[in-house]
Amino acid sequence: MIDALGNPQSLLLLGGTSDIALAIAHAYAGRANGLRVVVAARPGPRRDDAVQDLQRAGCVVRAVDLDARLPSSQTAAVDAAAAEGDIDVAVLAYGVLGDNEQAWHDVETGAELAEVNFVGPVTAGIVLADRIRRQGHGVVVALSSVAAERPRRSNFVYGSTKAGFDAFYTGLGEALREHGGHVLVVRPGFVHSKMTQGLKAAPLATTPDRVAAAVVAAVDARKEQVWVPPAMRLVMSTLRHLPRPVFRRLPL
C-alpha cells in the first residue's frame, strides 16, 4: 500500500535498467525503508548492476526477465511481481530512441520502435490494469516524451510511437479512476541518459534525478501529467500551435 504520506511499499520497474527508472527507484528508496523492487528487464550485466545498485540503497530486489517485444513476457513479469504482494507503483520505462533516418527507411528498425515503444506498453498496460482493478489501488508511471506532442522531421518515428503510448496511458488513467487506480503520464524533454549518450543536448536538457524528483512529487499530488522540466509544458504548447511552415524551419 502507498501510505498516507505517499510512501509505497513496492515498485515494479518495467525496463528496470533504464536510467530514469532507476533514479525513480532511488528517490522512493530514500523515503521508504526496505522498499520491495522488482526489476523487469532483459538479463545481462546491466540488469545485474541495477539489482546490486538498488540493494545497496536498502531495497529488497528481485529480477525478472522481460523482453518488450514479447506480449507473454509482459504478463509473466507483472504476474511475478504480483506474486510477492500488491504492486503499489509500476514504472513503464523501457523504450528505444533509434536512428530516425534508419527507422523510416528500414522496416525492421521501424517495427522495433513501434513494438518496443507502443505495442509492448499497450500489452503491459492491459495486464497492469487487470491487476490494479483487482487490488483496488495502484499507480502507473508512464514515461512518455515531449516528442509525443508534435511530430518533428528529425524524430517522427520515435515521436509517433510515443504519441500512441501517450494516448493509451492517458486513456488508461481515465479507465482506472473508478477502480482506485491512477496513471501519471510523464513528458520529459532531453534527458542525459544512456539513451541520449553521444547526442548533442537539446535546450532545457535535464537529468534522470530531476525527472525522478518530479515524478515522485507528481504522484504525491496525484497529478495525471507532468512535464520535466516544467518549462517544457509552455514550450511544447507554443510549438504545437505554430503554423507548419514556421515549425518546419525551426532547427529542431
Partner: protein, 431 residues
C-alpha cells in the same frame, strides 16, 4: 448487513478464488486505512444497530455491533445510564470501539472500552459464532478481538457494562499550565481525583512556553450541582451550555501562521483558572462533533494523526517528543495530551500506563521524517503508536511497538488460517 446471515454470505463470497478478503466496517472514523480493504469486500455494519436488551438495575446493555455511541448516549441517558468510555467523537460503532479498544478522558481511572465488555458474539472465518467473555474458555480470542482491528472476525453483538449517572452534565475545572513541566506536574499531582481529564497543548510554542496547555478535568455532575434551569430536566441530552472548549478552528487551510495564531488564541481564550463549571456531556466530550467539516481545513492532501504513548518513567523522551513536534514547523491544532492508566489484556490494545499525546498534521514534504524521528523516540522508550489513527507505520516498526504481535498472529492463524479477514492497515503492516 442487516442479519448475521449476510455475514455468512459475505464470507462465502470472500472465500472464492482471486478474492481479496473481507472486512467489517463501522462508521469509518478510524483515521487511517484500518476500515478499508481495497479490491476486497467490506461489510457495512451500520444498519445492524438495534438495542437488544437493557438491564437498568445491573446497568448492562446488549446491542448489535453497528449501534453507535451517539444513538446509545441518547438511549441510555433517560434511564440514568451512560457509556463507560466515550472517545472524542460519538460517531463510532460499538464494533469499532471494541476493535480499536478505544479510550476516553477517563482512561486513567476506568480503562478502555474493551474492559467494559461483558460478553460478545464473534463470527469467525469458518462461519461459527463464538460467544466470548473476558475470563471464559475463549478468553484468548476475546482479548485478540479487543484491539484486534477486525482481524479475528465480525463482532455481531456485545453486552456492555454501563455506569449510573444522575445528570447529563459534567462539573469541569479548567486551568492553564505555563509550560510542559508545569503541565506534567499538575497532572501528576491530582489527576486521579478527577474522573475525566485531558489537556490541550500548544504544539507550536517553543522555548520557555514549550508545552503550555489548557487542562480540563471534571466529574459527573450530581443533581445538586445543577442550576435550577438545568435541574428540571437533568438527563436531557443537548449541547446547551456555552462552550468554552469548542475550538474556533482557523478558516482556510492550516499553515504555520494560522496554526500559530490559532494555538495562541486557544491558549489565551481559556481562563487562567476556573472551577466547577457545569458543561453538557456532549460539549465536554465531543467538541468536534459540533464542527461540521473540520477535516476539510487541512488542504488537498489531508492530514495525518500521530498518537503515541510512552511509560511514565520516560518523561524525558516525552518532553523531547514535544520539543521535536514544536520545533518541526509542521503546524498542529488538535493536540491532546493525557495520562493513561493500566492496560487491559488486549493483545494489540493501544493504551498503556504513561503519557499519551496526539497531534494532527497537514501532509506535506518532510512529515515522514518527523514521524520517523518520533517513532525512534517512542520505540526507545518502549512506547507505541495507536493503530486506529495510523496510516504510515511499517511492519517492522509495528512489530517492535507491539510485543504481543506474535501471540496475536497465532490466534489469528488458528481462527482464520486462510487470512480471509484483511484490511489495508493489515496489508501495510502485516498484522
Amino acid at each position: 448487513m442487516t442479519t448475521p446471515h449476510d455475514v455468512t454470505d459475505a464470507l462465502a463470497a470472500a472465500s472464492a478464488p482471486r478474492q481479496r478478503g473481507l472486512l467489517a466496517r463501522g462508521l469509518g472514523r478510524s483515521y487511517g486505512d484500518a476500515a478499508q480493504n481495497s479490491g476486497g469486500l467490506v461489510l457495512d455494519m451500520t444498519a445492524f444497530k438495534r438495542v437488544l436488551n437493557l438491564d437498568t438495575v445491573g446497568a448492562e446493555v446488549r446491542v448489535q455491533a453497528g449501534a453507535d455511541l451517539d444513538q446509545l448516549t441518547r438511549f441510555l441517558l433517560p434511564h440514568g445510564l451512560w457509556l463507560p468510555v466515550v472517545p472524542g467523537t460519538r460517531q463510532v460503532t460499538v464494533g469499532g470501539a471494541i476493535a480499536a479498544d478505544v479510550h476516553g478522558k477517563n482512561h486513567h481511572v476506568a480503562g478502555s472500552f474493551g474492559s467494559h465488555v461483558l460478553e460478545m458474539d464473534l463470527m469467525t472465518a469458518d462461519g461459527q459464532v463464538h460467544t466470548l467473555t473476558p475470563q471464559g474458555v475463549d478468553s484468548e480470542l476475546f482479548w485478540a478481538t479487543v484491539g484486534g482491528m477486525g482481524m479475528t472476525g465480525v463482532i455481531l453483538h456485545a453486552t456492555v457494562a454501563c455506569s449510573h449517572v444522575e445528570t447529563a452534565y459534567v462539573v469541569v475545572d479548567t486551568e492553564r499550565a505555563r509550560d510542559i513541566d508545569d503541565l506534567l506536574a499538575r497532572l501528576t499531582t491530582d489527576d486521579d481525583t478527577y474522573h475525566y481529564s485531558v489537556a490541550w497543548f500548544d504544539a507550536l510554542a517553543t522555548g520557555r512556553a514549550l508545552g503550555r496547555a489548557v487542562i480540563t478535568r471534571g466529574r459527573g455532575a450530581t443533581l445538586d450541582d445543577l442550576p435550577p434551569e438545568l435541574a428540571r430536566e437533568p438527563l436531557a441530552f443537548g449541547s446547551r451550555s456555552a462552550s468554552l472548549t469548542t475550538p474556533a478552528l482557523p478558516l482556510g487551510a492550516v499553515n504555520r501562521w494560522t496554526g500559530r495564531a490559532f494555538n495562541e488564541l486557544w491558549y489565551r481564550k481559556a481562563p487562567v483558572e476556573r472551577r466547577a463549571e457545569v458543561q453538557a456531556i456532549g460539549t465536554f466530550f465531543q467538541p468536534l462533533d459540533a464542527v461540521g467539516d473540520w477535516n476539510r481545513l487541512y488542504g488537498p492532501r489531508g492530514f495525518c494523526q500521530y498518537q503515541f504513548v510512552v511509560p511514565f518513567e520516560a518523561v524525558e523522551t516525552f518532553r523531547r517528543a514535544v520539543e521535536v513536534i514544536a520545533g518541526s514547523g509542521h503546524p498542529s491544532c488538535l493536540n491532546v495530551l493525557k495520562r493513561l492508566g493500566p492496560s487491559n489484556p488486549g493483545m494489540l490494545s493501544f493504551p498503556a500506563p504513561g503519557w499519551t499525546l496526539a497531534v494532527d498534521l497537514p501532509v506535506k514534504p518532510g512529515l515522514d521524517r518527523l514521524f520517523a524521528q518520533l517513532d525512534d523516540l517512542v520505540l526507545s522508550a518502549g512506547g507505541r503508536v495507536y493503530l486506529a489513527k495510523d496510516s504510515r507505520l511499517t511492519a517492522a516498526t509495528l512489530s517492535s511497538m507491539y510485543p504481543r504481535l506474535q501471540e496475536f498472529r497465532a490466534v489469528r492463524a488458528k481462527v482464520d488460517p486462510a487470512g480471509i479477514f484483511v484490511s489495508d492497515l493489515a496489508r501495510r503492516t502485516q498484522l
